[in-house]
Amino acid sequence: MTRVVGHSLPRMDAPGKVTGTAVYAADFALPGMLYGGVLRSREPHARLLRIDPSRAARLPGVRAVITAADAADVRYGGSVKDEEVFARDRIRFAGQPLGAVAAVSPDAVATALAEIDVVCEPLPPVADVAAALAPGAPLVHEGWAGYTALPILHREGNVCNRARIVVGDVERGFEEADRIFEHRFTTRSVHQGYTEPRAAVAQWDSAGQVTVWSNTQLPFEVQSTLSEILQLPPSCVRIIVPGVGGGFGGKLRIGVEHFAALLARKTGRAVKVMTTCEDELTAAYARQPAIVELKTGVSCDGRILAREGRLWFDTGAFAGSGPGVASVATLMLAGPYRIPNLLLEGFAVYTNKTNFGSFRAPSGPQANFAVESQMDIIADALGIDPLELRLRNIVREGEEGPTGQVLAAVGLEECLRKVADAIGWANRRPGPGRGKGLACGWWTTSGGSSGVYVKVNPDGTVALNTGAAEIGTAALTGAAQVLAEDLGIELADIHVVSADTLATPYDFGAQGSRTAFAVGNACRAAVADLKTQIVTLAARQLGVEESVLTLSQGAVCVADGGPRVTLAELARASQASGGGLIAHGTFVAPPTPYDAKRVEGHVYPAFHSPSFHAHAVDLSVDEDTGEVSIHRYVVAQDVGFAMNPAYIEGQIEGGVAQGLGQALSEEIVYDNGRVLNANLTDYKMPTALDVPRIETILVQHPSLVGPFGAKGVGEPPNIEPPAAVANAVASAAGVRITSLPMTAEKIALARLEQKR
């Protein structure tokens, strides 16, 4: 029995959050601080001829106006270095930064921004993937071939990566198949919708070092990017993360830190920059729109024999996360299925839109919507129950994933059977206009390394010092539960210090469902070392052999009732004579072996400690309006080990809510490169009235690697909702919707079309 892990203990940062005392980056302020704002292009594609800031610079209260001339001429980016701080001579999306202003108040900033003259020569925009891939299409980056990029990427013109998986012989597979199904699906861009805007406060010191307080999910990546932009060694760039008001992948890449840093350098004052709602919906890292084409060959008894799939992501004006997300997409196109012949390709394609990025399970919902919709279409065509069709094809323990990784701890069958039972699958069409649908999938627990320092305080409590940021998931509460469990203390005895690139150990960051997993394991490593230090010191203090000592309930003792010394006493003794009790624990996910011959251009060839999940939904479609009402929504997720069941339920409930937004109502609407709905009135995120109750079933097939068997939890619940809803809509209304979002209008029109 565990004392601390596995229990739904309240998160450690909750009191500060409910009383308003928790400080988020958006709340952070320094005395005498200026406000900064960004001048953004109104044109989606143009030659930039001239920017004249002189009138703006003379306005009262304005302290600096900067443009590309004030930043080093460097291109940066993770996989392709194609991005610049401010446009220099070419504008590539409506919303692209052209300059920035620092002034004494937000009002003065807004006035100054409106007074900067921008002269440009508009060009026809490359509005979408089809336009970008058309013969003779203009190049979004004429100099693409000269950019520094990861050597494994397959780049060509407007395609900044083509990732590929090839298994067996897909043509022979199709020849052997009894039926071949070909479909096309499309999805639109959706925003992460974090309620805290991206924010940064920058301040330079007299030694030429800059400190930035920001709400990034990846302080160490932002440190690295900012050091490139500022042409400074990383040690001169310190990133500190106060509270983060949600991220969901949208706060991975550099956001406004560089604008704050450049304005602060120019003015010699602290400067705060915060995004507006319009900035967020036009110039952030929203989810990539996608086109998916799937060709699947099956035997008449429903075995999948071959699949050819292509997924094109609109990555926008810069590569950003695109090449990686296109890689992950190929694994998602295979689905959690055993398919002997595969040809799967993911493309990241430049267009004149914002640089779309990583949103919770990047590529997951787009690919799963296609794969799981097609599974139901196949099931209907073959006259096989959709659950049964899945059970005939899903991967099971010890089988291979698409790239040859050997799968372990596969809880998928249990997930499918449990959601089907819970939703009452036997009665799939309970009444007119009402139907049930299900979808399943798999996902990774991202790798990367984590370090922690664990220090015993003189009162016997323990400080956990981690480079990871708490973005709201309670991952650091989970890691602290691991620490408390292993050290024999209570969760309340732990204090967390986090995410300061100068002071905390390295962490790969709050991304990819990895934080509790990796930081938790780093805690376990630290405890192993710390226990040795504690027992050695205790043996000396008590004058006994180390081997007779045990550590529990905050003390080291020989036996019940025997001599004991508390952690507090040991910490004070060590402070007096040994520099204090402190341990450095590290963890890196072991590489997952795969068959390298099966992949090309692939930056993510295997899923580490994969999780498996199934969703089922029971809904009605209004006969006249096409509006969807959800009666029940059930999730069964294999979490490996439920570190803190309440917050895992919270992740699942929130992930499903976000997924239902993508399924039914959310879309950043573009018209030839311009966003038409850059406000929260017209960009429709679900409210408390729109989200149904979500029933969670936790399935636990322990990971061999995760702490206590845990797997990544945060991203998966966002994957299946669009597909599950599409399948239920088909069941309820008899129409198959192949594009997101499935608005009431779209469903109603499809029904009219069908009746015609």
Partner: protein, 156 residues
């Protein structure tokens, strides 16, 4: 712009201020008084993170001019835990796992308080409707609704 003097009652304390007539209550709270428990996001009365109580009614501070709050009583999240004791809603939000990133939570708790003051025995649907002006992107609202219902039950 010419400033105007203003006396505001916030969490039972009187504040004498000199503000521009265009200044919003949100700017006064966050920038002038450092009460950053009231959050800032859309500035368009759509997301609800800036919710405060004005004479007991939940309002969006981002679109409310400070000068309109003369002679009226304002309660922010900082004013809810009287004497250091958590309000039952705050306690319930913690106990029910209703807090994730927490950025929407101050506004959510105040919107819930305004509603429960009117309707102490609400249904879940009524609670969800009362909170429909407050966006949360982390929780899916379920544990928030449970927390509010539980606080309501405890108060009866």
């Amino acid at each position: 712009m010419a400033r105007t003097t203003l006396s505001l009652s916030i969490n039972g304390e009187c504040h004498e201020l000199s503000v521009e007539p265009s200044r919003t209550l949100l700017e006064v709270l966050r920038t002038d008084l450092g009460l950053t428990g009231t959050k800032e996001n859309c500035l368009d009365a759509e997301c609800g993170v800036c919710t405060v109580l004005l004479d007991g009614v939940a309002v969006n501070a981002c679109v409310l001019l400070a000068v309109r709050c003369r002679e009226r009583s304002i309660v922010t999240i900082e004013g809810l835990a009287a004497g250091g004791e958590l309000h039952p809603l705050q306690r319930a939000f913690i106990d029910h796992g209703a807090v994730q990133c927490g950025y929407c939570i101050p506004g959510m708790i105040l919107a819930a308080k305004a509603y429960l003051d009117e309707d102490p025995s609400p249904s879940e649907d009524a609670v969800r409707e009362a909170l429909a002006g407050n966006l949360c992107r982390c929780t899916g609202y379920q544990k928030i609704a449970e927390a509010v219902l539980s606080a309501a039950r405890a108060a009866r």
